[in-house]
Symmetry: C2
Subunit: 244 residues, 2 copies
DNA sequence: GTAATAGTGTCTATAAGACACTATTGA
DNA sequence: TCAATAGTGTCTTATAGACACTATTAC
């Protein structure tokens, strides 16, 4: 009997080994009513039927070219949003986190702007809604270990805003510096000094003026957009500490 | 027929769905001969038999309580090292990265000190050795997408040394500030200003004097050890840029 | 005019970079 | 004594924080 890789693969049966269940779960964040919100779905099917959970599910090995595709597919299925920041956060694993058996979930977070979004119910969820993140910590329980996953995603987000421009992804395509500052303040949970903030953002060249102005009840503000949207998030040389 | 979660689980068969292969791969880093090295094994079995690869493999759903356990188990199996920094980096996935089918690997990096380590061959590897990371980029090919995984781990390491004290994990339990500085310089690939470096490290309180001195051909140096080994890595308020 | 929000000028504080200096060992 | 490496003093630089100031709109 020969021993080529081809022979090996011919005789290889993926089910000869005990494989873990592998899924993707997502914390989809947005800012609504001056607060950080995350998208939750009420599970329609066992296990954990009737419980609120992060959207997620199995990999479609026919449709998905990678886990990133799986995550983006889930995002589109629930929100219709195609372009946004989607980032792998961490994986969670173990024998007990899912009653179906040893499982692994790769957690993603997505940041989207709260504009023109219509949430989409499907066969896996009887309800879908935005929930303020600070309300989940205390009152609610989530399915599986989703509270821990949400926590990890929230921590990642809070950590990254210290030194990156990530929060721009929570805003619509055009926004004022004051709106951006408010977003940072919501995430940092403390006020940010206006001059420092503007200096930091403007000197980083991550934004450019659109030329348009946003009018309101007072002085109109310049509108900005992100430069080079496909590029990486800018890394600031110092952390933003917020007012002391 | 009732519809409880228990009934659901009774009838649930994990193999009714097409599951991806899920594995763990590790970039185990150390400093040897003034260079960053990574541990490679020569694969003894199909697929990619005979190729150099990062150590890794399947989850043992009986032994491993989590993927972190899987990673730590692999580390001990290859190096005998139990205590070290082990960190999840990212996952890699897709239909084509492994010829056996749609697969997911969770990549870990480990940082260990190059002391008293005896590399351990086992049934999965005919050879095991340290390889300088800079030699892999150009000449060598690695099995599967392991070069991409190694790259991601290397990038993560390089990024984290800018603002954390991570590299202390590459040194033995007692070391001098000069040795620590050299380690940072190897990772940053540029010289670091001595006074700035010492000020930064000493003011962070991540180290404490052991009381002992390291003698050499010149003035003896104070030996330091990490304070609070179980704690997190210290986050510096500014990045280390190295000499300009 | 006033209220409200946008946007600036400029001083201080902090931690990094530069670099010359002193200290302590072995040979 | 000298060579070598450990360790310090102190000036400069870069960027964040503080906070008062001016600018522009609607009413």
């Amino acid at each position: 009997m020969s021993n080529t890789e081809k022979d090996f693969l011919t005789n290889y049966n993926i089910h000869d080994y005990e494989l873990p269940l592998t899924t993707v779960d997502m914390a989809i964040f947005t800012i609504r009513d001056e607060a950080l919100n995350v998208l939750l779905v009420k599970r329609n099917q066992h296990p954990a039927k009737g419980k609120w959970a992060l959207p997620g599910g199995f990999i479609d090995t026919h449709k998905d070219k990678s886990l990133d595709d799986t995550a983006k597919r889930k995002l589109v299925e629930k929100t219709g949003v195609k372009i946004s920041h989607v980032e792998q956060v961490a994986s969670f694993s173990g024998k007990k986190r899912d009653p179906r058996g040893w499982s692994v979930t790769i957690a993603y977070m997505a940041l989207i702007a709260d504009e023109h979004i219509k949430l989409i119910k499907d066969e896996s969820s009887e309800e879908i809604q935005w929930m303020p993140v600070h309300q989940i910590g205390k009152k609610m329980s989530l399915a599986f270990d989703h509270k821990g996953i949400l926590n990890a995603c929230h921590e990642r987000l809070k950590s990254k805003i210290q030194y990156t421009s990530l929060p721009v992804n929570l805003l619509p395509s055009e926004f004022t510096l004051s709106e951006l500052q408010t977003t940072f303040e919501i995430l940092l949970e403390k006020p940010v000094e206006k001059k420092s903030f503007r200096r930091r953002i403007l000197s980083s060249d991550i934004l450019e003026e659109t030329g348009a102005m946003k009018s309101g009840p007072s002085r109109p503000a310049k509108l900005y957009q992100v430069v080079n949207k496909e590029g990486k998030n800018y890394l600031f040389p110092r952390t933003l500490e917020g007012s002391r």
